[in-house]
């Protein structure tokens, strides 16, 4: 093979790579547009839930199934009292709060015991799903619906499993330590279970970013939008993910993810499948995929639904350093899930999940991010080599930047028309501004973080990289 042949091969490789990247990005965009249209249709035709908690309570107070809210806590000494008080104050007819102290090194347990007047009790564990030892159970003399489980340190999945094992209610709601649940969030999330005839396994809800909001006593006092750009970019991302992607996926029965920050599940379904897995960093995605797999393998009718209303607020990483670990972890978790359930991919036995849901995950999480990054290099290279027209570079940018902006603004429009949780026109403008800017740098950086997650996956890293958070109550998050 001479130099000329090598050049021809290299040129062809670059050309085909460029075209492949182009196709992948275009396919992602077609799916996103479809999702946006479906979400707009769902919002336009949906029967809205009650406007306020009073109305919800009047309608569903007698119907709501009892719920156990499982809150894993690790080194939360400073915030645990406010968080638990906020959970106890949630508007719901019958709910129990199960705090799982996951081997905290600080005085989380002592704080709980003192502030909630707790005494040791011998609560029976119904199912042992956790891998670590339970050190004790405590109940409050003042709040009969509060239980604290003290256990050795595991990870969030292990703590949540311990809580699920102690829950006695038909429904469990698993949240993150830093989740702030809307006062009527449980009622809203439980609503689909009231219409259910026994097939509904889980319900997810929209999660919004709490950075910039005024938080007092573990509850949102005033909704706000952070001044810093990184949290604002994430608001746009969350709106896109929840209001467009998940609403559409739920409508087409292909919902693959219920966020770890807030998810309501049928307790017996979780126990039946063995709870969260401990050996993945994306346990929330893996759990939902496993529910799908389990139910379809057993040929049982089931449903997993999504409530578009905001049920929960969460603190997002305030800077790129925090974001890096989080996004890499999400990416790694998605790949681990895909690897573990690879049998489902394009397998008609798993219906829409195998034929649509899993391939979509592959497109979004396996080939999507590297293709876009690669495209930024190979498309210009192909143009320099003279095998592609310069207009192709513009078209590629159009597909990424222009389309991305359009999709983000479309999701924002959905939010404004349907939910209206952005407090003022000024805040709406600032989110819109972020939707424009995010395509020039943030989007690409995010893709690099995801590549890092792909690298961690191939190295089989099991290290949990904590996401540094500024904490609620600090100014200008």
């Amino acid at each position: 093979m001479n130099v000329s042949d090598l050049q021809t091969v290299a040129t062809n490789v670059v050309l085909y790579l460029a075209l492949a990247c182009f196709l992948v990005v275009a396919a992602r965009n077609v799916i996103s547009v479809f999702q946006l249209i479906v979400a707009a249709w769902v919002f336009a035709t949906r029967i809205r839930p009650g406007k306020n908690s009073v109305e919800l309570w009047q309608r569903y107070g007698d119907l709501a199934l009892p719920v156990s809210v499982i809150a894993p806590a690790f080194n939360e000494e400073l915030s645990i009292v406010n968080s638990v008080k906020a959970l106890l104050a949630l508007e719901y007819p019958h709910h129990e709060v199960i705090v799982v102290n996951d081997g905290s090194k600080d005085d989380t347990l002592g704080t709980l015991i003192r502030d909630f007047d707790m005494e040791a009790c011998n609560r029976t564990q119904i199912a042992t799903l956790q891998k670590t030892a339970i050190l004790g159970t405590w109940r409050s003399r003042r709040y009969p619906n509060l239980l604290v489980i003290d256990k050795e340190n595991g990870r969030k999945a292990d703590a949540a499993n311990a809580g699920i094992g102690f829950a006695r209610t038909p429904l469990v709601c698993v949240i993150d330590a830093d989740s702030i649940i809307e006062s009527d969030g449980l009622l809203r999330a439980a609503e689909p279970f009231m219409h259910d005839n026994g097939q509904l396994m889980a319900v997810g809800g929209t999660i919004r970013i709490a950075n910039g909001c005024e938080i007092e006593g573990g509850s949102i006092r005033k909704i706000g939008v952070a001044k810093a750009l990184v949290p604002r970019f994430q608001i746009v991302e969350y709106l896109r993910a929840f209001l467009s992607c998940r609403v559409a996926n739920a409508h087409t029965n292909t919902l693959m993810l219920i966020s770890g920050a807030f998810g309501m599940f049928r307790r017996d379904a979780l126990i039946e499948i063995g709870g969260y897995r401990h050996d993945t960093v994306g346990e929330d995605l893996e759990l939902v995929v496993r529910i799908h797999r389990h139910m379809r393998e057993q040929r049982r009718k089931y449903a997993i639904k999504f409530v578009p209303d905001v049920v929960c607020w969460t603190e997002a990483p305030a800077n790129l350093a925090g974001l890096k670990g989080q996004r890499a972890r999400w990416q790694q978790g998605a790949l681990e899930t895909l690897q573990r359930h690879r049998r489902m991919i394009f397998n008609p036995r798993y219906g829409r999940i195998g034929m649509i849901g899993m391939p979509q995950l592959i497109l979004e999480d396996v080939i999507g991010p590297p293709s876009e990054i690669l495209g930024y290099f190979v498309v210009p290279a192909a143009i320099l080599m003279g095998v592609l027209e310069p207009i192709m570079a513009l078209a590629f940018l159009g597909l990424t930047v222009l389309f991305g902006t359009g999709l983000s603004l479309g999701s924002l429009a959905l939010e404004e028309v349907q939910l209206r949780r952005t407090p003022t026109a000024r805040d709406l403008f600032r989110i819109g501004e972020a939707a424009l800017i995010e395509n020039f740098g943030f989007r690409q950086v995010n893709l690099l973080y995801r590549l890092r997650g792909i690298r961690s996956f191939f190295r089989s890293e099991t290290r949990w990289e904590g996401v540094p958070r500024a904490g609620f109550g600090k100014p200008d998050l």
Binding site: A26, V33, A44, T45, R46, I47, R48, G50, V54, E55, Q58, R59, D62, L63, L65, T124, I126, R141, R142, P144, N145, R168, F193, M194, H195, D196, N197, G198, E389, I391, M392, L394, A395, G398, L399, L402, F403, T405, G406, L407, L409, G410, L412, A413, E416, V417, T424, A425, L428, F429, G432
Partner: protein
């Protein structure tokens, strides 16, 4: 050529969305600007209605107030008023023609809009509203809307007799949900006799259990013999429903057969019996509950533990004890 098309499509998509977003942003900005002025108007409308409700002279009313503004105020202050005052407020709203607009909207082609108006009609609760709600309940083409109308009627105690409700919603032709159960329960105080008559029909056990369960919400102790008979049937669903109903009725005369069912051969009936003992405060059941702490079914053991908590534990207040029960 394709590249040019892609570029155009991308640009068109982005421009379209940007334009839509711009319109929504402008709309929000205008609404906020208006809201600052509208605050005074809404306060004036509120004062006006409160004066009229109290029977005082109102010379602040203005024909410039729109139906939407008045409806917003009425919906808000309705939550703050009680009893006769609330009824008078809704009468004023009807006199002001607010009901006309709502009734018109209830014929919208969009199911979601019809549901919104059902909720408003429920607030008014007058004869005209009940008539329209019944019309929606019987003839709307969307099941979810009919169900919503049923709930509205139930909340204003105007639900038709249970046999009609069951027929219209096709309750016995499909798997039952908690909403079906709730509707029958809300009918129970007004239609005890009709529910009893329904029990004479040849029904599947699951549907019969729904009726038995609803009888517990009748607030009428005369249903206790029916419940006791149901507690002696061969079907565990019926026995369990009878226990639930007895617990809700809270009448002590059910104690004997409720305690008897603690020895039922079916685990979920024993669980319900344990729950009922706790709800009825049957301290005579304590020895049996201790025995059930050794039951082979974990849920029977757990519920017994909880029931003993309620019956034996010294809770600081009855309120807390009630919460646990």
């Amino acid at each position: 050529m394709i590249a040019v098309h892609i570029l155009w499509i991308s640009a068109a998509m982005a421009s379209g969305m940007a334009a839509l977003f711009g319109v929504l942003l402008f709309r929000r900005w205008r609404e906020e600007a208006k809201a600052r002025k509208a605050g005074h108007v809404l306060a004036a409308i509120t004062r006006s209605y409160l004066r009229r409700v109290a029977g005082q002279l109102d010379n602040e009313a203005s024909p410039a107030w729109t139906v939407d503004q008045r409806l917003a105020v009425v919906s808000h202050i309705r939550l703050l008023l009680r009893g006769g005052e609330r009824d008078r407020l809704m009468q004023m709203a009807e006199l002001d023609g607010l009901l006309r607009a709502t009734l018109r909207k209830s014929r919208s082609w969009r199911a979601a809009r019809r549901v919104d108006t059902i909720r408003q009609l429920q607030q008014f609760g007058s004869e005209a509203c009940i008539a329209r709600l019944r019309e929606i309940f019987t003839s709307d083409r969307v099941g979810a809307v009919r169900l919503e109308a049923a709930f509205a009627l139930a909340s204003i105690k105007a639900l038709p007799p249970p046999r009609e409700t069951i027929r219209i919603l096709g309750m016995f032709q499909r798997k039952s949900t908690r909403l079906d159960s709730a509707l029958l329960r809300s009918s129970a105080p007004h239609y005890v006799d009709q529910l009893n008559l329904l029990l004479a029909d040849p029904l599947p056990h699951a549907k019969r259990a729904l009726i038995i369960d609803a009888l517990g919400w009748s607030e009428d102790p005369s249903v206790l013999p029916t419940l006791e008979r149901a507690s002696r049937t061969d079907n565990p669903e019926l026995r369990s429903a009878a226990l639930r109903a007895a617990a809700k009725l809270g009448h002590p005369s059910a104690a004997e057969w409720v305690i008897g069912l603690l020895s039922d051969p079916v685990a979920f009936v024993r669980i319900q019996a344990v729950n009922s003992c706790a709800a009825l405060g049957l301290r005579d059941a304590i020895p049996d509950l201790h025995r059930l702490m050794e039951d082979q079914d974990i849920w029977v053991r757990l519920r017994s533990e909880q029931a003993l908590d309620v019956l034996e534990y010294e809770w600081p207040s009855d309120g807390l004890k009630g919460l646990v029960a």
